[in-house]
């Protein structure tokens, strides 16, 4: 029982991070029908931006308050990562719009390789670590042998994720900008006939996806304390799995899918073999594609015309 509760806490934390990344996949897919294979690497770039910012803020500027430092790191990472993704869209995807369907996909794979190699050259191939920023934990259950704990770090991940998802949900469902995004997702031509600047709306979508990936990246850095140029790939593919599992194109689906993948992975590690946790996560992808191709919250393709 204690193990289960503990893994539930760990799984929700990991799942929050996957969910934040998954939104970037699902939004871009929704609006231009493209799987942005570089998104995982955009996440990885954000972890390095967070790392560098953290070092600057704490050692050079000498801010000692963890809360203020984290806040600055979060804002800087979100801003710079958004800028990076905006540039990627302008340079690598927009010129290919209207080309054959696979063209932007290939371009995205190229971008993914470019980003991870660039970071490898610029930052070195070895793991980069930061000292633990937040220490301490609540003891929730004490079973004698095994204590169930909720660390402050985990609480921060949950809270930041919840706040940013709420803000993001508000923008998409309640503002004129979000309405334009949804209009472009459904019918770009009609959106243009109603005065929506489709190219600009697509740019904003990439910016929003990157901002959430940067939240995930900052949380990842704070939670694990170690980043590597290769860290874009596996979390990226898992977040993509989460997006497919939740129903690609669906925003709540991405969050639910992320939480599920996080839970499956941690539960598998606890009860079966930790070496096979990635196999378990990707088996889910295969099974989902076979039995539930539209995902949990995905819409069936039939629509009244």
């Amino acid at each position: 029982m204690e193990v289960f509760v503990q893994q539930l806490i760990n799984g929700l934390t990991l799942g929050s991070i996957y969910g934040l990344i998954a939104i970037g996949y699902t939004m871009v897919f929704g609006i231009i029908g493209m799987v942005n294979f570089a998104h995982g690497d955009v996440f990885m770039v954000s972890t390095f931006i967070a790392l560098v910012t953290l070092l600057i803020v704490t050692t050079w500027i000498g801010i000692s308050s963890v809360v203020i430092a984290l806040f600055i790191v979060l804002v800087v990472a979100m801003t710079l990562t958004s800028l990076v993704n905006w540039a990627i869209e302008r340079l690598a995807y927009r010129p290919l719009r209207g080309s054959f369907r696979l063209a932007p996909l290939i371009s995205a794979i190229g971008m993914s390789i470019f980003l991870s190699n660039f970071v490898q050259v610029a930052q070195g191939p070895r793991n980069k670590s930061v000292p633990p920023l937040v220490q301490g934990e609540f003891i929730l259950m004490d079973g004698g042998v095994y204590q169930v704990t909720l660390s402050y770090k985990q609480l921060i991940v949950w809270a930041v994720t919840a706040i940013l998802l709420a803000a993001f949900w508000y923008v998409v469902s309640r503002t004129a900008l979000g309405r334009s995004q949804r209009a472009c997702e459904q019918d770009q031509k009609m959106a243009a006939l109603l005065g929506v600047d489709v190219d600009r709306t697509i740019s904003i979508t990439f910016v929003m996806g990157a901002a959430l990936a940067a939240v995930a990246g900052t949380m990842y850095l704070m939670y694990y304390g170690v980043v590597n140029f290769n860290d874009g790939f596996v979390p990226g593919v898992k977040a993509f799995t989460a997006a497919v599992l939740g129903g690609i194109g669906s925003l709540p689906g991405a969050v639910i899918g992320g939480l599920l993948i996080g839970l499956i992975e941690t539960m598998w590690s606890a009860y079966f073999s930790i070496d096979y946790k990635d196999v378990a996560a990707f088996a889910i992808l295969a099974v989902t594609l076979i039995f539930l191709p539209q995902g949990i919250l995905g819409r069936p393709d039939v629509e009244k015309v």
């Binding site: 004129a176 031509k189 009609m190 006939l193 005065g195 929506v196 629509e303």
Partner: protein, 241 residues
Amino acid sequence: MTEPLLSIRGVKASYGHVAALKGVDLDVSEGEIVTLIGANGAGKSTLMMTVFGKPRAHAGQIIYSGEDITRRPTHLIARMRIAQAPEGRRIFARMSVYENLQMGAAVNPDADFEQNLEHVLGLFPRLAQRLHQRGGTLSGGEQQMLAIARALMGKPRLLLLDEPSLGLAPLIAQQIFDIIHELNARDRLTVFLVEQNAYHALKLAHRGYVMVNGLITMAGSGRDLLERPEVKAAYLEGGRH
């Protein structure tokens, strides 16, 4: 004589290698209802979309309100207060009726949303009952009403309607024609209408054009066209009216 509000001069457009418009000349003056009739595939809908640059005219000129809009981006043309209820209605199926109307209003930030909403819901009371339903759940007639209502939300100067009566029961089609007439007579809205329902559409129009194979072959007042034997033979026989 004053400048027409919309003036199409020698416009050619194509889809890939297929020429759809082969040099079209057409005018719509302020305050008019102008009807364009023609068979399926004549290029009527293409002409409507070409006004918005989708597809773009590769020859000729489109002048609106004194400005050349031939090469202007679609969304900027829309912001000049030209609205279209396009072929296939193209309502946003996964948005509520209310959100569809908000989308229509967004093109014109100066328009008073509440006042326009009241106005269009007055014209289409059915939509008031469906306000929070998703667009995709509406019936065909209701979707057509929504497409027109959405176009009206931005307070357009020029309204382009592509086959507003298509697929509607005759009674509902008649309602829609009545509303178009009312908008024109009361609010002085300029309307450019494409129809296969030639009898009703020409009866409603101040002027009409006939399009065959990407070219305008006849023009005249609505009544005049209705009387012409060629028009009668080609578009009015077969009990369509």
